[in-house]
Symmetry: C2
Subunit: 506 residues, 2 copies
Amino acid sequence: MTTTAPATVDALIRHIEEASLLSSSNAILDWDQETMMPQGGIEWRARQQALLARIVHERASSIERGDLIEAVERDREAMADAQTAALVREARRDYGKATKLPSSLVEEMTRISSMAKHEWALARAASDFARFSPWLEKLVGLLRAQADCYGFAKDGERWDALADLYEPGCTARSVAAVFDPLRPRLQGLVADLMAAKTKPSGEFNDYLVPIAQQEELSRFVAERIGFDFNRGRLDRSTHPFCSGSHCNDVRLTTRYNERCVNDALGSTMHEAGHGIYEQGLPFARVGTPLGESVSLGIHESQSRMWENQVGRSRPFWSWLRGELPRAIGADSARFSLDQLYAAANVVEPGFIRVESDEATYNLHIMVRFEIERAVIGGSLEVAGIPSVWNKLYKDYLGLVVPDDRRGCLQDIHWSMGAMGYFPTYTLGNLYASQFFEAACAEMPGLLDGVARGEFTPLKAWLNSNIHAHGRRFTPSELVQRVTGKPLSPEPLMRHLEGKLRPLYGL
Amino acid sequence: MTTTAPATVDALIRHIEEASLLSSSNAILDWDQETMMPQGGIEWRARQQALLARIVHERASSIERGDLIEAVERDREAMADAQTAALVREARRDYGKATKLPSSLVEEMTRISSMAKHEWALARAASDFARFSPWLEKLVGLLRAQADCYGFAKDGERWDALADLYEPGCTARSVAAVFDPLRPRLQGLVADLMAAKTKPSGEFNDYLVPIAQQEELSRFVAERIGFDFNRGRLDRSTHPFCSGSHCNDVRLTTRYNERCVNDALGSTMHEAGHGIYEQGLPFARVGTPLGESVSLGIHESQSRMWENQVGRSRPFWSWLRGELPRAIGADSARFSLDQLYAAANVVEPGFIRVESDEATYNLHIMVRFEIERAVIGGSLEVAGIPSVWNKLYKDYLGLVVPDDRRGCLQDIHWSMGAMGYFPTYTLGNLYASQFFEAACAEMPGLLDGVARGEFTPLKAWLNSNIHAHGRRFTPSELVQRVTGKPLSPEPLMRHLEGKLRPLYGL
C-alpha cells in the first residue's frame, strides 16, 4: 500500500480491483435498470447481471485470491504497515464470506428469494400473511443454514452471523444492550409529545409546489450541502436510493410529491448524505476494501445526519427560508421560520415505518429486530409473526394494526432474504447523533454556520474523520476513534428530547 | 437451432451468448458514458470497459470456442439445418477475426489510436495536417499489418481485408465497380441543379422552434414510424447515435438546433431507422450471429431509407404538415407543402460531409475511398493526403478547400484506425434505394399510405425481409434475395433524379 509495496500486496490489490471493476459495472446496470432501461430490456438484463455476479463471485472465492491473501498475511514486513494490515484483514473477511457458503445454498437462496419477493408483493396486495408464510418459512430455513455456514461466537446466536454481513461485529446482544434502555425512553418521549397541548403546525407539509421547482430546489440543496455533481447525478425513482460505480460516479435518486416538498427535501438530503460518503471515499483506494464504506449502519449515519441533525434543525430552516421564495415562489415567504421548522418535526405514531418521524422510527425497528431474532433463534414460528407484530405495535406505539398490509407485510426486506439488516437503520440514527455531537463539540460554531448556509465545515469533518478511512476501522473502532466513546443511546435521546420537547411546548 | 438441436450446437450457442451478455453490458456502459455519466467517472469507466472487452475477447478467441465450432462443422446432421449452417459460418468468421491478430498488434493499435485521436483533435483545431501526419503514418502501418494478418484474396488488395470487418465480402474492386459509373452521374446531376434557375426555398430551415417542442416532435415521429419506446429510449447527445444492449433495449440519441427543426427530424429518423432494425432482430436469437445485424452498409440502408426515401419525400411532408401546428405551434401552418418539401431537399455543395445533402453526400465518400485505397495499397504517402484530398474536392465538388480543418482533418474515422469504413455510408444509400424500390414495387400504395401517416407496411416489410434474418445472409446475398438483383447504382440515381430535377424546375 506504500510506494514500496511488495509484489504480493500489489498482486492482491490487482486481483481485488478486477472483481471490483466488474461488480461496479454491474452496479451501473442496476442503476440503469431502475432509472433508464426500457421495460422490454428486463429479461436480457437479468441474464447480464447474473453472469457478471457469477464471474465476480468466482474471482472473489478463487483459490488464487486465497493464496494471495495468505501470502501477504505471512509477509511480516508488509503486514507491519497499518494500511496493508487493514486491507488484508478486510480481504480475509470478504474471502471468508465468499467461500463459506456452498454454491448450492447460494443458488437456492437466489431462486427462493426471487419467487418469495413476487409472492410477498401479491400477499401484501391481498393483505394476507398466510399466503406469504410458507415462503418466509423456506427463507428462514435457508437463512439459518447460511448462518451456520458463516458461523458465530460460542456465546452468541445465529442471528449474529446474518447481521455481521451488514454490520461487521454486530451481535444481537450488542444491539439489545443499546435498544433495551432506549425503548422506554423513546416511548416516554412519544407519550409526552402526544399528550402535549401545543402541537407544531404541519401546514407547510400541505403546501403545493410544482415538481419542476421541487427538482430545482433538491438539486440546489444537495449541491449546497456538498454533493459534487461533477462526480454524481440526481434522478427520479419510485424508491429513492444511492448507487453508482465508485467515488467519482455516484448516482442518487429521489421522489417528488406535489403536496409535500418536505418529502423530496428529506429524501434528497438523505440520499445526498449517502452520496457525500461515497464521494468522500479515497479514489486512490478505489476497488479495494480501503476505498469502500464501513458498514450499512455507518452509511446510514451519514444519510440520517444530513437529513435529521442538519435538515430538520432550526438553523437549517433559518437559512433555507431565505432561499425558498426564489426556488419555489414568492408566496412561500408567508411561512414563518417557526412554521417551517415545525412542519419538518411533526411527530405522529403510524403503522408504516418509511413514513414515520424521527421519534417513532426506531420503535418500528425494534419490533422487527425482536421478531427476526426470535425467528432465527427458533423461539418463534413464522406463522406466529403477525400476532407478535401486532402485540409489539400495541405495546411500543400504542397502535392497533388493522391488517397485515399495514403490519408485518409492509417491508420488502425479509422477502429478499435480508434478516439482520433492520437494526442498521437505528444504529445509523445512533451513530449519526453521536458523530454530530462530536462534530459540534469540535466546531462550536457549526450550527451558526448552517444558519448562514455554510455546510463545508461539517462535510470536511466527515470526510477526514470517517470517509477517508474506507474500511480501515471496524464500526465500533470508528465510533470510539471519532467520538472517544463506545456507541451509546444518550446522544440520540439528547437530540430528540432537546428538539422535540420545546416544539411541543414541554 | 431446432428444438432437437444436438448438444454441441447448444453448447456453441451458450458459449457465444455468454460473451454477448458481457459485450452488451459493455455497450450499456458506453451509452451511459455518452449520455449519463458524470465527467468524474471517466477514469474508472475506461478500466471497466477495457476489462470487459478483454474478457469478451478471451472468450471469443478461446480454444474452447474454436473446438465447439469445429465440432458442429463436423456434425453433418446439424449442418443440414440451414439456420445452423449460417450460425456456424458466422461463428467461424468471428472466430477468425478474433484469433488472427496477435494480441501485441491489438494492444499497439489501441494504444496508438487512443493517442492519435487526441492528436487529431488538436491538429484539426489548429487546421494543421502536418501535425497529425506522423500519427496517421503509424496507424497506416498498423492497418497494413492488420490486413496482412486477416488476409485477402490473391486477386484482391490489402484494403479489402479492412473493409471486410465492416462489410463482409466488400472489396475495393466491387466498390469501384459501383462508384466509378455513379460519380459522373452524380456530378452531372449536381451541376445541373446548381445551374438551374429555379431554387427550392430553404425558408423552413430557418424557422425557430423551441427545443422542448422539437423533442416532442422527434418522439412523436420516431414512434409513429415504428420505433417501440417500450423497447427503447431517445436521449440527447452531441453526436447522434444508436446503441443499446439488444433488440429489446435500443437507445437512440439525437441533437437539437433551435434554428433548424429539420436537423433534429433528420437525425431522429436516421437513428430511429437504425433502431427499428435493431428492434426487428429476433429475440429468440439474441446474443448469437443470427440475432445480429448483417453489416454496417445494411444498417445504414435502414437509417437512410427512413431519413431520405421516407423523410424527404413529398407524401411524408404532406402527412407531417397536418401534425406540425399541434406539435410546434399554429404559426407553422403558414408553410405550404411545397415549402416544407423543398426545405428538406435543398442541394448545395459544401466542404463538410456530415452537413451535406443527399446529392453531394456520396461524392464526399468517394474522395475518402480513393485516398484510403491508395494509402493502404501503398501508392500514396500519408504526407500526400491533403493535396490529393483538395484536388479531388475540386474535381468532384468544384470546391477549393480553404484549410485542412474543412478538408482532410474533418472526420474522426482514420484517427481511430478505421479505414475501409467510409464506403459503407454510400453502400447504405445504394442499398436503401434498391430496397425501397423493391418495397414500392411489392406494395404499390406504399407512398400513398405515407401521406396518411401509415408507416406500418414498410416497417413490416423490412422486418420480415431484412431484420428477421440476422446474419443468416451476407450483404450481397441479402440484396439479391430481397430485390432479385445485385447491387446497382440505378435505383439511387432514379431516386435522386426523380426527386431533385423537378424541385429545381428541370
